[in-house]
Amino acid sequence: MTNHPILRLEEVLKAYDQKIAVDRVTLSVPKGAIFGMLGPNGAGKTSLIRIITTITQADSGKVFLDGEPLNSKHPEFIGYMPEERGLYKKMKVGDHLLYLGRLKGLSKAQTEAEIRRWFEKLEISDWWNKKVEELSKGMQQKIQFIATVIHRPKLLILDEPFSGLDPINTNLIKDEIYQLHQEGTSIIFSTHRMEQVEEICEHIVLINQGKNILEGEVKAIRNQFKEHQFRIDFEGNLPEDLPSKVRTIKENGGSAVIQLLEGAESNQLLGYLIDRGVRIKAFNELLPSLNEIFIRQVEQSNAGLAAASGH
């Protein structure tokens, strides 16, 4: 199996009247990954997704889907659940799914089989003849999700998939996402909710003001931004004098956050403390949360842009 990414963007640029929405973005989504696309509101995520889903076209740059330059046949391999989504209120659920499935190039029989499969799976077999408007918001979201994946897309793009969902339905959809991931579907997950990304995604890209400002595996990124801080839970008292390259950031009754400076080793510190008779109960490295990285990076990039435009 060739190992090219499911999606590759090269120097993609898109400008509207006065605004550059996507500014020379280059990125790769590995095949089979759950890929988080993060960024503040208005960062250009939706513009980027619209280019990938062929709703709009890039002014310049290249887009490759599964190694091929993006073409008009590709929407059939992509499942897209927009943030702004809806269904025809007056249509019957079954007819609606049939319609959307067939528009994705499936035959009538294929679509029907897929719908039945999903209906059984989600235990909603009696919904076929219900009108969309008779369903609750959460139920409609389920239908929307089925509609997005009914043609078994190679690439699934979910724009804020959990907005407006209650916790039960959120978990249900989350489970389905994991299952599709198991089956090998590549998933792009666009959101500004960091805790969801941290939970779900393996890879991320951070978009700010139309630019790719950070991209990579979640673990690697968190390591990259780690500040060598450790949390120590202990019994007894910490010694007054710590090694020269160690600072105490915070301490309160049996728990402390320690900063190791350049050249200090965690093992050395641990040995030092044990030698001083401190009983260690837990010793963890504190990695920055994506949220912290996100905020820091966005601020940094905004400052950079402001400085650049100031010249």
Partner: protein, 437 residues
Amino acid sequence: MNKLWLIIQREYLTRVTRKSFILATLLTPFAFALFFVVVAVIFGYESDDSRKVAVIDKSAILQGALKDEKNLFFKFVDYDLDFLRKHLDSLQYDAILEVPPMDDVLANKYTLYYYAEDAPTLDIELMIKDRIRDAVREYKIRELNLERKQLEALETRVELDPEPLQEGGADSSTITSAIGAGIGMIMGFIMYIVVFVYGAMVMRSVMEEKTTRIVEVMISSVRPFHLMLGKIIGVGAVGLTQVAVWAILIPSLMFIVQVVFGIDTAQFSAMEPGAEIDPDDMEQMMALGLREIQNINWWLIFPLFVIYFLGGYFMYSSFFAAVGASMSDDLGEGQSLTLPIVIPVILALYIMMAAVQAPNSSLAVWSSIFPLFSPIVMPARLAFNPPAWEILVSVVLLIATSVSFVWLSGRIYRVGILMYGKKVTLKEFGKWMFRKM
């Protein structure tokens, strides 16, 4: 193409299977028929008070002959007027009609006297006047010793038959013009209604897709242009279905109503005073009319009707689609955007009415070539045999305009449907047309 077909199917089927559509389509002809019946009953309603009228005709002008009506009975009596007036009730009469002697046979005014509690109702008055006029005519013919045949010869029916200048050119008659004008008017009105009803339906539906946010889901599967075109075609087919059902149901229901209720349509025209047509004339005109209907070149006119209908529909409704796509959630603000299409359509309707009167005036000629007017104006002129080049230029212009309207609207549409919460002006329409996606 396959996807376009799916869209057309959905747009069509969801509408024609809707209860409101089925009801409107079926009930409207019934409402027509009901209206027809009610009107017939009202017109056919006869006064139920019967009257006995005593007629005093001392000089025998009427010769004792005055035909009874359903509820109006005449009885010639020999009593004195004074005696009758006193004993009207006991003699069981309702009214007295005094026919005075005629002093001057050549006078063209003649007054009778009607004695009753109340003044005669309009229909009784008309009926009496009618009867007396005929009787007096007979009386005068007798008194003056006139020859009946000569009298009849005095009345001449004049006709003007237009003939072609070239020999062997198409012969036509004034009836052709009348029929042509009638068909053209009907065509123009249908066009006008279709534009507003179904054009507005396209607009509402586009707007609904936008406000319910289904549109972004859709255009990740199909091209926006196909979505718009599919909707226009689907709604157009709905319109054709409705018009076709009406075209069959309304005349057949009318026919059934006539048969079942025994309502005579001629009754309506007979009610209008002075609209009496000699049955012979009527028959002649019917025959002539039928012949003229056959004479009209249907093989040319019918396809042209269809072309103008489709051209007009696509042109106007695509614009409505573009407006629908540009509107935000507020229906009201679209009204001003529809003006560029509403004004030409209304103007075209008035021009059409003028064109029927003077089909070769320069107003009619130029408006039937100008594509925004031609779908409504040209059909009204077709029966008057306009020159071929005019038809050709008009059709070519119309097709070119509709195609470019659909195309340009498609460009406005694809920008508009993704634009939220922004009030759009006509100026922006222009910008969007030439924006790349």
